[in-house]
């Protein structure tokens, strides 16, 4: 059995088993949030970890996906569920159009351009009060799947868990496909990749579009689960959190993005006890992780295990 299937199996087992240990329905809700956030982070991992391109505007696409769930039913009269692929397609199209010029930039310049894009999206969502409801947010109608109306944390736990499993499966497949190898090659050296005949611009753009679609689907699921969305979903801090999840978990690792997302969603939940100290502790932990476990949690643990067994 190769590592890809092992990863999927472990993730499926975790999703299937941990509900046994939940003392209350509240935990389903938190875990459902972990899965859907992880889905967004996995998308960013494709862009950052596999293609090596930084994005400080990932939450912009999450916001586009989330707001599609509210605006589609309201203005186009579509069923909510139909808006999920629609939002994903819209995010993909926008990424395709924006990505073409943006991805020519490198390093910090790319960071500031994606940052600008994310902030523009958030700003439109805040300012167009007549359409988006402004800073107060907007309600999402309850979805209906063949007559079944998912309600409460438990239903969404399984829906989001399944979505994450599919997302991780696709991302792992991508990583080991010719396309994924091309991304790995251009990650190491764009010049070298170009000399062996890889269309660098096309592959980078593809990774950007894939990341956007993941983000939009995650945003759409999150919005449906909450029944509500505010422009904060697209905000800069959210983008930073996604980047942090991917880096803390381990840039090069798809399951790393899941672990990073779990950490960043669960920490604030655990820290609500220390309410006032939440930000100080979160900032401190981010710094400590990055200083002492630079490669990220999953690759760090993996190499530790290898050393033990060797």
């Amino acid at each position: 059995m190769n590592a890809r299937w092992a990863t999927l199996l472990i993730l499926a087992a975790v999703i299937a088993v941990i509900p046994w240990f939940f003392p209350s329905g509240y935990y389903f809700r938190v875990a459902a949030l972990v899965w859907v956030t992880a889905l967004g982070a996995v998308g960013l991992q494709v862009l950052m970890g596999q293609a090596g391109q930084v994005s400080l505007g990932h939450a912009g696409f999450v916001g586009i996906g989330a707001y599609a769930m509210a605006l589609g039913p309201k203005y186009l009269g579509l069923p909510v569920l139909a808006c999920l692929p629609l939002g994903a397609a819209l995010a993909g199209l926008i990424a395709f159009l924006v990505g073409r010029p943006i991805l020519r930039l490198k390093g910090h310049y790319l960071a500031v351009a994606t940052l600008g894009f994310g902030i523009l999206v958030a700003m439109v969502l805040v300012s167009e009060i007549a359409v988006t409801g402004g800073p107060d947010g907007i309600r999402i109608p309850r979805p209906e799947i063949f007559g079944w109306r998912p309600r409460g944390g438990e239903a969404w736990y399984w829906i989001n868990g399944a979505a994450l499993l599919i997302g991780v499966w696709l991302a792992l497949n991508l990583q080991h496909s010719p396309s994924g190898r091309a991304l790995a090659a251009l990650h190491d050296s764009e010049v070298a990749a170009r000399t062996i005949g890889i269309d660098v611009a096309r592959h980078k753009l593809r990774a950007f579009v894939i990341a956007a679609v993941y983000g939009a689907v995650a945003g759409g699921l999150m919005a449906m689960m909450n029944g509500f969305v505010t422009p904060d979903a697209a905000g800069f801090l959210q983008s930073v959190e996604y980047v942090t999840m991917v880096v803390i978990g381990g840039l090069a690792s798809v399951p790393g993005a899941v672990v990073g997302a779990a950490l960043l969603v669960l920490l604030p939940q655990a820290l609500t006890v220390f309410h006032d100290y939440e930000h100080a502790v979160l900032g401190l932990l981010i710094m400590l992780f990055m200083i002492f476990l630079r490669v990220g949690i999953v690759p760090g643990l993996a190499s530790l295990l290898r050393r033990r067994s060797a």
Binding site: A111, V112, V124, H279, A280, V281, I291, R294
Partner: protein
């Protein structure tokens, strides 16, 4: 006409603050290749410490000095405790460390101070001065004058002193600088201290106009970063021009287009500039070595 003048002055005032933040980014980036997202927290510290020290009965100039001293200490600690141990890490890792530092500083500020907005009195009163029909706050002159002082001082320091030349040499080539006897780790610490001082100074100057609170740093860091990129990362002149330009664009955008989209105007222009000139206005065209 008075309207335009009004927009120009307010744009230059805000722009001067962006320019100071961008200078801080540039100094640290030149010495260490680190993009310090905690730069905005220095501005916050400058404003908040001054407010609280003044409220505790300290004279304003003393409170300001104390604020700068606190910011410099925090800057040095940031370098010593967070950046130095992570030496050799990738650019993204270092960015995340500074983002972590900025969240941490904000969290601590919210515990040590409070979550409310605070204001300082204008240094020479709050009565606007009428110039050609435009009402200009005297504090605007303080901001512009203070910024000018920093620009000139920094220029003299970099061009005329041995230490300044060491900073420039480190920026140009760290290894070569070390070979000719420059203590680069000392230069690095100096850069962090200096940009913390500049940030805090900007925070003190602008607080009478824009108020301050524990979370003003984030947006300022973003704008300062954008300004530095607009000018071309690494060029102090670019940082100043980029900052002033950003401030002007924002003020004109808010005045003539839509105040809700004033930040959007700034970022749209940055995107446009980067598409046309991927290295910013004053950046060097990078030569890629294969």
């Amino acid at each position: 006409m008075p309207e335009l003048l009004q927009f120009l002055v307010s744009g230059l005032t805000v722009g001067a603050v962006y320019a100071l933040v961008a200078l801080g980014f540039t100094l640290i980036h030149n010495a260490s290749d680190v993009v310090n997202f905690a730069q905005g927290e220095f501005v916050m510290l400058g404003g908040m410490v001054t407010v609280f020290a003044a409220a505790a009965g300290l004279a304003l100039p003393l409170a300001a000095l104390l604020a700068i001293a606190v910011a410099v200490l925090v800057g040095l600690a940031l370098h010593r405790l967070a950046i130095e141990p992570a030496r050799g890490a990738s650019a993204v890792t270092l960015i995340i460390i500074t983002i972590g530092a900025s969240i941490f500083l904000r969290g601590v500020a919210q515990i040590v101070f409070d979550k409310r907005f605070h204001q300082l009195p204008g240094f020479s009163g709050n009565d606007p001065i009428m110039v050609l029909g435009a009402a200009i706050l005297p504090q605007s002159f303080w901001v512009l004058g203070g910024a000018l002082l920093v620009f000139a001082g920094l220029f003299l320091f970099l061009e005329r002193t041995l230490m300044g030349k060491a900073v420039l040499a480190t920026a140009a080539n760290r290894l070569a600088a070390r070979l000719v006897g420059v203590d680069t780790s000392c230069v690095l610490a100096l850069s962090f201290g200096l940009s913390a001082a500049i940030g805090a100074f900007a925070g003190i100057l602008i607080t009478p106009i824009t108020l301050t609170s524990f979370d003003v740093g984030t947006l300022l860091a973003l704008k300062g970063f954008a300004a530095a990129m607009l000018g071309g990362m690494g060029s102090p002149l670019g940082a100043v021009v980029g900052g002033l330009l950003l401030g002007l664009l924002e003020a004109l955008g808010a005045g003539y287009v839509s105040s809700a989209y004033k930040d959007a105007v700034a970022f749209l222009v940055i995107l446009a500039v980067l598409f046309a000139m991927p290295q910013g206005l004053f950046g060097h065209r990078g030569v890629e070595r294969v």
